[in-house]
């Protein structure tokens, strides 16, 4: 599959250059059409995002999927603001796959990820709602034949100067006949009623009483339940199984092997039958050519590759010479491990393949890709594949890939009934598309008074773009792999950053919460700390020195330092670490306070975060995302790494792939700087901040500089 579309990074650069102008200049396909869509029932659908029925029911068709980040709520707030209705008046529907209508202009795909959702929808959803409101008012004014200017809308009701009122439903059918205005004026932020408030999330009530339906909860008439075993080694093949034994298990109905022989499923009356059946099936695999791969062989190959010159990502001044000639030179090797996403909801997919059409129920961040995958594996035309996108029990990037849909389609096409395939946690964890292993060489030079005169940084690792969106992988440079390495908030006279692509054997790699910045911020912000130490300067002071012309970055740094009591004395064995970032269009600074116990156990005390993400739709959601993102990041930095033996993944479940528990979670304070800058992304910022903040805090607490997570494993105890 080729996705030759503008990638989100290119557009972000452009938009940054244009001060967000590009966002405003967004071409709205829906507005371009001559007449509004309307159906027999007289429903009013002026564009792809808003639908109003004749009873006044208002539906938002959300272009972005809900993975827990609260986008349904923020999108409803954007719509409600311009439509002059309350959140409780809006129904929300997941958008069907339709690139024409629901393409994310920043991702170049109908996708949810990269913390771009609010940035993508900030204008287009408000415009969509404003268009609807304008047309509804126009329709009412026409009925009353008064000047629309004398009418106003409030909570779904249109009032004229004389006090007459009409509900949206009353005029929906008429509005549908009116031409769609080419442009509309948006509210001035000073008049916002919803945007900027801590509105309650629209999806929470159903999630506290068990009624929310996730992909894994789908039930269909005559549906059966299956579970899969996929070749434990990438490229392996099924060479044996005891089908008779599997069929002897009570409740087992079918044993289905994919045509490619890379997976097999046992299907039965319930998951337990399928699970027991799969145990009895006891599939045997030929590992194929990857049977000899271990983490060590992968890292060795990466080390070798990292000796080569890479594709230049940034070249300012003569960094190499500057470093060589410097009074003090510092250099280091950083390594970032493979990571699994392991969202709480294991992979699953419900499919019903019929001769002339297919239906698929799942939670996906990429509905169009899911639709294409089913079409490809069933041979059905794409428009005969219906995708029903569901709530997701987390994703963290996992559901930006459709490998599980492909397996499901390859199996479901062999059975006439609807089948829900659920991955066990073990299958999910062992067949992830992992966060790449990165291997970073960094070096820098300091002059006599400790100023950074130059830095070099070589990133070596897999290119996700090359596989996921080849169109965005230009001239061998992966702009995700170097994000936050090439551009930093700091002013440094000479900088050289290059990228060496090295694809690991036996591993699939993909987006992981925080993407490029999660890896590069760990390297850059840890190394900046090393430089501060070499310069015998306080890490906050040292950073301030390089932020003269970066007021927004300086502001979050100062705020976090102040709120955290930076510099105030701490007991022995306790330390504070700072990290600063400009990523996803937001400025964020974290100060983390930790201590290390006698057995080398890490105790997380307190995190103070200062954030400037510009215009904020829902401050409470921003806080929640930072809290949660930070905890996922800290959990990962302390405990997680994926390793291989004989080409297969060693980890399998939460007993050997640890997740932080409530008793380890630190206090987290989030301070938001409010301003009218265009909105920045938020969903991944906290995760990206975690590793550098923790590494720097551990250094402060123990004097040990950790350059290779997970830290709990590598911290030498007794310090």
């Amino acid at each position: 599959m080729g996705y030759d579309k503008p990638s989100r990074r290119f557009i972000l650069k452009a938009s940054a250059a244009a001060g967000g102008g590009l966002l405003l200049g967004l071409h709205l396909p829906s507005l371009a059409r001559a007449g509004a869509e309307t159906d027999a029932a007289g429903e009013f659908m002026p564009n792809a995002f808003v639908r109003i029925d004749t009873r006044g029911g208002i539906t938002l068709i959300s272009p972005h999927a809900e993975v827990g980040q609260g986008i349904y709520t923020s999108s409803a707030m954007l719509i409600g603001e311009e439509l002059e209705v309350g959140l409780n008046q809006i129904q929300i529907e997941a958008a069907p796959p339709d690139l024409k209508k629901y393409l994310d202009p920043l991702l170049g795909d109908q996708a949810t990820g990269g913390s771009v959702s609010t940035r993508a929808d900030w204008v287009r959803l408000r415009e969509a709602a404003a268009v609807a409101r304008t047309m509804l008012i126009a329709a009412a004014a026409k009925k009353w034949n008064v000047d629309p200017a004398t009418c106003r809308a409030e909570r779904g009701v249109i009032h004229d100067a004389t006090g007459r009122t009409l509900g949206y439903g009353d005029v929906a059918a008429d509005a549908a006949q009116l031409p769609v205005p080419a442009s509309v004026k948006l509210k001035d932020p000073s008049q916002f009623k919803l945007i900027g408030t801590d509105a309650k999330r629209v999806d929470t009530p159903s999630k506290v009483n068990g009624s929310a339906i996730y992909g894994i909860d789908i039930m269909r008439p005559n549906m059966r339940f299956g579970t899969v075993a996929i070749t434990p080694v990438k490229g392996g093949k099924l060479i044996g199984m005891d089908e008779a034994a599997a069929r002897r298990v009570l409740g087992v109905r079918d044993v289905i092997r994919t045509d490619a022989g890379d997976a097999v499923a046992v299907i039965g009356d319930h998951m337990w039958a399928a699970k027991k059946g799969l145990e009895a099936l006891n599939p045997k695999w030929d590992p194929g050519e990857n049977g000899d791969v271990t983490l060590e062989t992968i890292v060795a190959a990466m080390d070798k590759a990292s000796q080569n010159k890479g594709v230049v990502a940034k070249n300012k001044g003569d960094a190499a010479t500057a470093v060589k000639g410097a009074a003090t030179q510092v250099s280091a090797l950083y390594q970032s491990p493979f990571l699994s996403h392991s969202p709480m909801e294991p992979l699953n997919c419900t499919l019903h393949v019929q001769p002339d059409r297919a239906e698929i129920w799942l939670g996906t961040q990429v509905p169009v890709r899911a639709q294409k995958a089913v079409a490809a594996f069933t041979g059905l035309p794409q428009d005969k594949v219906t995708v029903y996108n569901q709530l997701m029990g987390g994703a963290f990037g996992r559901r930006l890939d459709i490998d599980s849909v492909e397996v499901a389609a390859a199996i479901a096409k062999h059975v006439p009934y609807p089948v829900k395939l659920v991955w066990t946690r073990e299958e999910d964890l062992r067949h992830d598309y992992y966060r790449p292993y990165y291997y970073d060489h960094v070096a820098a030079g300091l002059d006599a008074d400790g100023k950074v005169v130059g830095r070099t940084h070589r990133v070596t690792g897999s290119s996700i773009y090359a596989r996921w969106a080849p169109g965005a992988f230009k001239n061998g440079l992966d702009i995700d792999a170097i994000e936050c390495a090439a551009e930093t908030p700091y002013e440094i006279p000479a900088e050289y950053v290059d990228y060496v692509r090295d694809e690991p054997r036996a591993m699939n790699t993909s987006w992981w919460r925080g993407v490029g910045p999660t890896h590069n911020l760990f390297v850059v912000e840890s190394f900046i700390d090393e430089l501060a130490y070499a310069a015998k300067q306080d890490p906050v002071e040292f950073r301030r020195g390089m932020l003269k012309n970066n007021p927004r970055a300086l502001a979050v740094l100062n705020l976090a330092a102040e709120k955290s009591g930076w510099g105030s004395p701490l007991p022995r064995g306790t330390g504070r670490g700072v990290e600063l970032q400009f990523a996803f269009g937001s400025y964020l600074c974290t100060v983390l306070e930790v201590s290390v116990g006698p057995s080398g156990e890490i105790n997380l005390h307190r995190a103070v975060v200062a954030i400037d993400c510009g215009m904020t739709v829902n401050p409470d959601t921003v806080e929640a995302q930072i809290q949660g993102g930070l905890i996922l990041g800290l959990s990962t930095a302390m405990y997680n790494e994926i390793t291989l033996t004989g080409g297969a993944i060693d980890q399998s479940n939460f007993h050997d792939y640890r997740a932080m528990r409530i008793n380890e979670a630190p206090k987290i304070e989030v301070y938001q700087i409010r301003n009218s800058e265009s909105p920045g992304g938020i969903g991944e910022t906290g995760t990206a901040a975690a590793a550098p903040a923790l590494g720097n805090a551990l250094f402060a607490a123990t004097g040990q500089r950790l350059r290779h997570p997970p830290f709990a494993r590598r911290l030498v105890s007794g310090t």
Binding site: T424, S599, N663
Partner: protein, 428 residues
């Protein structure tokens, strides 16, 4: 000159005698069942029960493999021995064996070709089996699914690969006759003795071995270490053995794998219960209890649970923290066991052992037991937790549920880890 020849002569004769002892083919005495032996399906049912009581399947089945098809590896100090295929397959199993050959194997540790078998196959105990029982087991094994699969060749260092040496060992340690009832004891006791000594071969693990790897019966059932696991003291000693247990508790333990107030079985004992003991009739269980009760006390091995009552969380915050994170899901913070009696830790010998031998085995290798309610399992926690963490966790568990101050070190954890079988790539 004359008597020099005599010397040669004597030496020569001795040599011949030795040669004969070591190398003459083992004889084959015909066996016939007594009149009491049932026939037909009754015989097979009896054989199946006895095969369970003798725990044949556990050793002769490779994890994940076909029952009785062998292949399970036993890693001994002097090399690796693989359990043979005892399915009725003619070429790969024992289908071609005569009954006499089968009984000879159980009684004398000799295979069909007359080669001596290694005592990891507990013929030193099976020698006590009656001919009828041996033949009944044979009859049952003839009915299991034949599997045409070879097992790997044993891999033993010299001189242990010299099978004939076993003959000397047998002379010393293998009884020459089946179990002889003790007329001074009642039938229950004698039945129990037969179940424990012959079928159950309990001594093979629970009685320490001497320098020649024979059972040291001066310390009968005083407890011993086997493949890294401690087989506990079964004598009636109150502190170290079963003296502190009620008959009901011992019976419950044998037939279910856990006892109120004494915790669950783990490791090899869990296996013995899962494959064997839980299938025994209550009469047989009570007979075993009666016999075990008569074993003279021996004050060996780790004492049962201690009496520390001071709160331990303060002393060991890391252990306490890890326990509620990783363990309480099944065991509950209180150790009562959340929902499964097999997860109740209080009073278990394993938590009370200050050395934590089996505790570290369980933590680094996991354990599982087949029960009437399906498989109960605990995963290995070795890979995601550091040696320091596991040591803290073990010390907490020991203090909190074994009621004893323990000082298990990271170094001990590292050693226990090293013992764990190497991880192998496999489907999830």
């Amino acid at each position: 000159m004359k008597w020099l020849g005599l010397v040669f002569g004597i030496v020569g004769l001795a040599g011949l005698a030795a040669a004969a002892f070591f190398f003459l083919p083992a004889g084959l005495t015909p066996v016939t069942a007594s009149a009491a032996q049932p026939t037909g399906t009754a015989l097979i049912a009896r054989g199946e029960y006895l095969a369970k009581a003798a725990d044949c399947e556990a050793c002769h089945t490779n994890p994940g493999g076909h029952p009785f098809a062998g292949g399970r590896a036993f890693n001994l100090p002097f090399g690796t021995v693989y359990a043979p295929n005892i399915t009725p397959d003619h070429d790969h199993g024992i289908g071609a064996w005569s009954d006499a050959e089968f009984v000879r194997a159980l009684h004398h540790g000799v295979d069909r070709e007359g080669d001596d078998l290694y005592p990891v196959f507990p013929y030193a105990s099976y020698a006590l089996l009656s001919d009828d029982d041996a033949l009944a087991i044979r009859a049952y094994l003839a009915t299991v699914k034949p599997v045409a699969a070879d097992v790997p060749d044993n891999d033993l260092k010299f001189p242990f690969n010299q099978r004939y040496l076993m003959r000397a060992w047998k002379l010393l340690f293998v009884p020459g006759h089946p179990y002889q009832p003790d007329s001074s004891k009642d039938a229950t006791w004698n039945r129990g003795a037969y179940l424990v000594e012959a079928l159950g071969h309990c001594g093979e693990c629970h009685t320490p071995r001497n320098v020649m790897q024979g059972l040291d019966n001066s310390k009968k059932f005083a407890g011993a270490e086997q493949v890294g696991w401690l087989a506990y003291n079964l004598t009636s000693d109150a502190d170290h053995g079963l003296g502190g247990w009620s008959d009901a508790q011992v019976a419950q333990y044998l037939s279910t794998g856990h006892a109120e107030g004494h915790g669950p079985a783990s490791g090899p004992m869990a296996e013995a219960i899962g494959y064997s003991l839980r299938f025994l009739t209550q009469d047989d269980i009570h007979a075993m209890v009666a016999y075990l009760r008569s074993i003279p006390p021996q004050p060996d091995g780790p004492p049962a649970v201690g009496r520390t009552t001071s709160p331990v969380a303060e002393k060991n915050p890391l252990g306490a923290r890890l326990f509620v994170e990783a363990c309480a899901g099944c065991h509950l913070p209180s150790g009562h066991g959340r929902q499964s009696v097999w997860a109740g830790l209080e009073g278990s010998h394993t938590t009370g052992d200050p050395k934590g031998t089996n505790l570290l085995q369980v933590l680094t290798q996991g354990t599982e037991i087949k029960t009437s309610q399906g498989l109960m399992f605990m995963h290995s926690f070795a890979s995601a937790y550091t040696d320091e963490e596991l040591a803290a966790l073990a010390n907490y568990t020991c203090a909190q549920f074994g009621q004893r101050e323990c000082h298990i070190t990271a170094e001990q954890v590292r050693k226990a880890r090293a013992k764990a079988p190497a991880k192998t790539a496999q489907a999830g």
